[in-house]
Symmetry: C2
């Protein structure tokens, strides 16, 4: 029976599992077996993973896969991709190979500036606040010196603090808008620690400031935190080739280029399509983000908010034909790190970064953007030619077959059969039943 529990986090892993199995699994012995089956046989390594977060009782597997043949700025990569969706790696690999033969991907980082805000309330004179800010700014900058010593050595640090009047949006609401460079770190901990120091300094010094005569009208900090909206931490990637290189015949190439450009135009004007279009891009981006130990929620939030920056949620990629040429490109904000966080801690992340030739944060931004562009190319190519289901179901079919415990011979037979049929779960199940009878 489900009952409340106190002090769960303080129990040992075994005690946690015992409690769960007795209260949520009706003492089902297979639960122990499954949890243990997913523990690493190396106890030291398992302990490391158990310490990643609170109340960990086992490991969740995502496939660690490889998409080879990514030619990016004339350098060849095999991308580590961590993703459960069955068709993503195949699609990325196909797109990579296609573009490797047509000059590869070009990628460029347009900026790496991040920001955080001290959000505060203030109901006094704007003039007094402005003066107080100017006076206190050197002290605010100084308040992060000890925190940023190492970051400065790596070329990063707090860049500037500006006072922003947000009272038109919300009465009494102001910000200290702080900008940062964080070198090869994603920088969340660094930025948050800096902001908290700045906030405390700003609020405390206001206590003694002559600018605020009336006690009720001093600035009061509500909260301080980095922003995952990073429109100035931006990367672009693109491909380009002659239109007649797109397909086997000139006629097919022209038709394909036209359909492709039209599909991207549709994703630019229609929100329903744009969301799915961008979701496909993120299949590629997130697979690299996960493999490299970065935080996909931060990336997702920043990217989709950027897609909505004009007030209309729209495509993150753009395509055009220009004389004899076909162009396809992406521009997305990506705050990524290759030091800090899990990057030096998770052995599979270390391996992924080694595979990527120990990239800088900027290198990783380029690689992830390219993965997103490749994914989008593959998706649109399928959509405007064979339809999305054909490629998708090929991989999905294997999952259905495994679920139905198909033998190797049954798998081969079923795959052959469904080359020309729609492979729904029930159709596969029916076919298999027929095979078996």
């Amino acid at each position: 029976m489900s009952i409340p529990i106190s002090g769960f986090s303080k129990k040992s892993k075994q005690e946690k599992i015992d409690w769960l199995v007795s209260h949520y699994f009706d003492n089902d012995p297979t639960v122990y077996k499954t949890l243990q089956l997913y523990w690493n046989s190396d106890k030291e390594l398992q302990r490391l993973h158990d310490d990643f977060t609170e109340n960990a009782i086992s490991n969740y597997y995502l496939p660690f896969s490889i998409a080879p043949n990514f030619l990016i700025n004339d350098s060849l990569y095999a991308l580590p991709m961590v993703i459960e969706e069955s068709s993503v790696v195949a699609a990325a690999s196909n797109a990579a190979k296609f573009w490797m033969k047509r000059g590869g991907f070009k990628a460029e980082v347009l900026g790496t500036l991040k920001s955080g805000q001290v959000h505060f309330d203030y109901y006094g004179s704007r003039n007094a606040l402005q003066k107080y800010f100017i006076d206190s700014k050197p002290g605010l900058l100084a308040s992060v010196e000890s925190l940023q010593r190492n970051m400065k050595k790596r070329g990063g640090g707090l860049k500037d603090i500006v006072l922003v009047d947000k009272t038109e949006e919300l009465p009494g609401y102001y910000q200290l808008h702080c900008t940062f460079e964080t070198a090869d770190a994603m920088g969340a901990n660094f930025i948050n620690s800096c902001l908290e120091n700045i906030a405390t300094t700003f609020e405390n010094a206001a206590m003694d400031s002559e600018y605020f005569a009336d006690d009720d009208k001093r600035p009061e900090v509500v909260l301080s935190i980095l922003s995952n909206y990073v429109p100035d931490c931006l990367v672009e990637a693109s491909v380009k080739c002659r239109i007649d290189e797109l397909m086997k015949t000139k006629e097919d190439s022209v038709k394909f280029a036209g359909d492709f450009v039209r599909a991207v135009e549709i994703a630019s004007v229609d929100k329903q399509r744009a969301v799915t279009h961008n979701k496909g891009i993120m299949n590629g981006v997130d697979a690299v983000v996960l493999a490299s130990g970065n935080d996909f929620r931060a990336v997702e939030a920043g990217v989709h908010a950027y897609a909505a920056r004009t007030g209309r949620y729209s495509s993150l990629t753009s395509a055009k034909t220009d004389g004899e040429f076909f162009h396809f490109g992406i521009k997305i904000p990506l705050a990524l790190g290759t030091v800090g966080g899990l990057t030096r801690l998770h052995p599979m992340v270390k391996l992924a970064l080694q595979l990527l030739k120990q990239p800088s944060a900027e290198d990783l931004m380029k690689i992830a953007a390219v993965a997103g562009l490749a994914q989008n190319f593959a998706a649109i190519r399928s959509l405007v030619t064979t339809g999305i289901q054909k490629g998708h179901m090929k991989m999905h079919l294997m999952n259905i077959l495994n679920q139905l415990n198909a033998t190797s011979a049954e798998k081969a037979e079923t795959i052959r059969h469904f080359q020309s049929e729609t492979a729904s779960h029930s159709a596969v199940s029916a076919f298999l039943e027929q095979l078996r009878s």
Copy 2:
């Protein structure tokens, strides 16, 4: 040396690894060791995971953790959470316990309708198209009958098809907007298969239709696909308590409620804050989405686009005080499944769904929304009281200590020391060095 490769996907897993190690890892023998260390010792089980996607060479671990004490609609849950960010599970657990003592979470599904579109071009008479659509609609509906036989048994299926004129947004652009119920399946494969049938039927019948006299002016399908924008597949969750129950003293409670509501107001008006605020919500949502074998990219895209639906990207949660009461709630679109996809295939997903009492898709929507609301509550509570870094660094500190190979005794000593100090990587490293010397 990095070189292109043909037929990579057709190689065996061992051949893939051999090729990678020789061309990307300079024959580093530790790479074999690491990849193998992450294989499951049960070969059958490993084969299952290898088949999830193309070119899988090992498993990527994310911690599978438990957040107990979630009281949702008077039923108690322990949530399975899959997430690498160190502070998320602790925050969720704290929020769950807090609200368990104050009546728990209420959650309600407001709708489960999903949609997909056949996007097509047409440059002829609108009147002719409208007539053709009305005539062909019965045939379009009939074209999915065999596909939806099983779905109908489960109460789902294609609900309607409407013709949408999008030519104001893009000349010549129209849609068949199709709505679906997909019962306990997320439904992507079902919807896409239906749409492709509808598209083919629509286009083919147009060939013979008398409505289109001129061959150049027949509808031409560009692409057909489901939408991950699901504003009608919506769930809301909320908590409520007397203001004076929030903190130990009445004075602290009133201050806390005011600061909390203000923090949510800020996230409603300021995009920089809203993105991070919603990112924190998704920490909770995605942890449940991953544990339950659902597609977090689809969820992320749908949720953030919904956050931008008014044209201004804004908070997904809202808070208010109302007389003696404090209210806090969330409303988000979530297209989730508890059948299909990985849900019956991944043993840890099966275990997660068993822990959640074999939820329907609607149950899972409620649980994931509650996880998001809990996460947001914990984040805002930290932000408006101690600051985000204190709780965050507590878990992060353990990761730093593991990275620096600290012994148990060193860990205990360091944790004690950093209870009152900011635990940056360099500060921890310096303290540990001092301990060791």
